[in-house]
């Protein structure tokens, strides 16, 4: 099962193994990782599952579609590597993925 490493705003690291096909959002929620609210449950409607994809993974993860990109324009503290974690599916290719979580979602 692929591994996802979450780093919260206070630099705490959480490593979780999830089934391929799970979203990064669910990987956090299902394992009690704090820092992802996911109010809408993955409908790409609330922008409360904002994360920063580690620079080394940005290319593999890919970019946001138009709707997601427009939401990301106006999240708190957007960065070029911002994504909504409900829109990233964990796959074997993403084994070892590292994402950082913003302070605003605690």
């Amino acid at each position: 099962m692929p591994l996802v490493k979450f780093i919260t705003h206070d630099e705490t690291e959480h490593e979780v193994h999830v089934t391929a096909g799970t979203t990064v959002m669910h990987a956090a929620l299902d394992n009690g990782v704090p820092g992802i609210l996911a109010d809408c449950g993955g409908a790409c409607s609330c922008a409360t599952c904002h994360c920063y994809v580690d620079e080394n993974w940005v290319e593999k993860v890919g970019s946001a579609d138009e709707v997601e990109a427009q939401m990301l324009d106006f999240v708190m503290e957007p960065q070029p590597n911002s994504r909504l974690s409900c829109q990233i599916e964990v796959s074997d290719e993403l084994d070892g993925l590292v994402v950082r979580l913003p302070a605003s979602q605690f």
């Binding site: 299902d30 009690g32 709707v67 939401m71």
Partner: protein, 410 residues
């Protein structure tokens, strides 16, 4: 020493958040969640959308997997109805004769569908409400390409259900008693937009519809209107709103007035009992009046307040209401409450196309936005509303004007 035991009644969205937030806030006593349905708390919004359309499995609806509750030492008592609340002895009685003692109680009982029990034919097979997973599982036994569905109620649930069924290739008719769909919650322009799109997608919408009876014997076969028309139906879905589930609170003598009355810390009239979610009547400081909300946002945010209260940390509830609705390729995002508006400013063209935003104003004050396929408008308005800021209506109304500028220039 007596062990602390927080019991949450209702395995709802609010309950899932409350239980998780209690642990996060450091509650080290027992936590139990008692719910009538047989599965852990789940997301209800997809029921009328992806789940109805068969695009999601029930496991994917769970707010948290069962293992999360195990790991967090949260006891899920499912398939169990609470029938009584004895505040003096701090004990809940259950439908099977059992009882659960509590030291602190949270009511997250949610809402129930408003039923049309006096409508002739309401008891026929093929007539459904849509609130629970079980409702949709039963509806799914009746759906299929080429079949006819009549939806009673042109609110969000009715329209989402219509869109999902249309996507499955069904003949769909929506009956709305009022002159326009979404009348209670949106401006006429937004209602017109949704009527137009549903028409374009092949849904028949009949407004000012007075439903006289559901026809059939055994299975429903049609819906009879007061004007004599009869609409054929293989199934009927009734979506005419919900009422707060306050029976337990009422029976226990808690203050109830269109919901369980709570203060800004989610406390009921009994300081040992909090309540959160659709079942509460609470004060909203942004709009300065009491209200009851039917939304995931309220369930989540108020549950966090309630959890803090139970842990002895009083943090007043202060959140901007927001909602969403997905139909066809339309992503509707709503921030704020439009009630009391005196002016609507449209950005983009609602009369054609599928992307626009309706901004609601009262005088100079921005109250709310309905944004259809306009995430930027939604995000900016949500931020501004939460911060108590308004926006420039002239710039908002000019789709070629810079959007951010509209929120900077007031």
């Amino acid at each position: 020493m007596e062990t602390e035991h927080a019991v949450i009644v209702g395995a709802s969205h609010a309950a899932a958040q409350l239980a998780a937030s209690l642990r996060q806030a450091g509650w080290d006593g027992k936590i139990s969640v008692v719910g009538e349905e047989p599965i852990p708390p789940y997301h209800r919004p997809p029921l009328s959308k992806a789940y109805l359309a068969g695009e999601k499995h029930s496991d994917e609806l769970l707010i948290r997997p069962a293992t999360f509750y195990e790991k967090s030492d949260i006891d899920l008592v499912l398939g169990t109805r609470v029938t009584g609340l004895d505040r003096e002895n701090k004990t809940l009685t259950l439908h099977d004769g059992g009882s659960i003692p509590y030291t602190r109680l949270a009511l997250a009982t949610g809402a129930r569908v408003r039923k049309l029990d006096t409508l002739p034919g309401h008891e026929l097979d093929g007539v459904f409400y849509l609130r629970d997973l079980n409702d949709v599982d039963r509806i799914r036994g009746y759906i299929g390409s080429g079949k006819s569905a009549v939806i009673i109620g042109g609110g969000y649930i009715g329209l989402e259900t219509a869109a999902s069924m249309r996507k499955l290739g069904m003949e769909v008719t929506v009956l709305e008693a009022l002159p326009r769909v979404l009348q209670r919650v949106t401006a006429p322009e937004v209602s017109d937009f949704y009527s137009r799109v549903h028409g374009e997608e092949g849904v028949q919408i009949i407004t000012d519809a007075a439903v006289e009876a559901l026809e059939g014997s055994g299975d429903v076969t049609g819906v009879k209107l007061a004007d004599g028309r009869s609409i054929p139906a293989d199934l009927v879905v009734i979506g005419v709103g919900v009422v707060p589930a306050t029976e337990l609170a009422e029976q226990a003598g808690l203050a109830v007035d269109n919901g369980i009355v709570v203060d800004e810390y989610a406390r009921t009239s009994d300081p040992d009992i909090v309540a959160a979610g659709d079942c509460t009547n609470h004060y909203n400081p942004i709009y300065d009046h009491r209200l009851r909300l039917e939304s995931v946002q309220n369930a989540t945010d108020q549950a966090k307040v309630a959890a803090n209260t139970l842990c002895g940390r009083l943090e007043a509830y202060h959140a901007l209401p927001w909602f969403w609705s997905d139909q066809y390729d339309l992503k509707l995002q709503i921030a704020g409450l439009s009630q009391g508006y005196d002016r609507v400013v449209l950005r983009g063209d609602s009369a054609s196309g599928r992307s626009f935003a309706a901004f609601y104003f009262s005088g100079q004050r921005l109250l709310a936005v309905d944004a259809v396929n306009r995430p930027r408008e939604f995000m900016l308005a949500r931020k501004a509303l939460a911060a108590g800021q308004t926006a420039n209506p002239d710039l908002l109304g000019d789709d070629s004007a810079d959007l951010q500028q509209a929120f900077l220039t007031q």
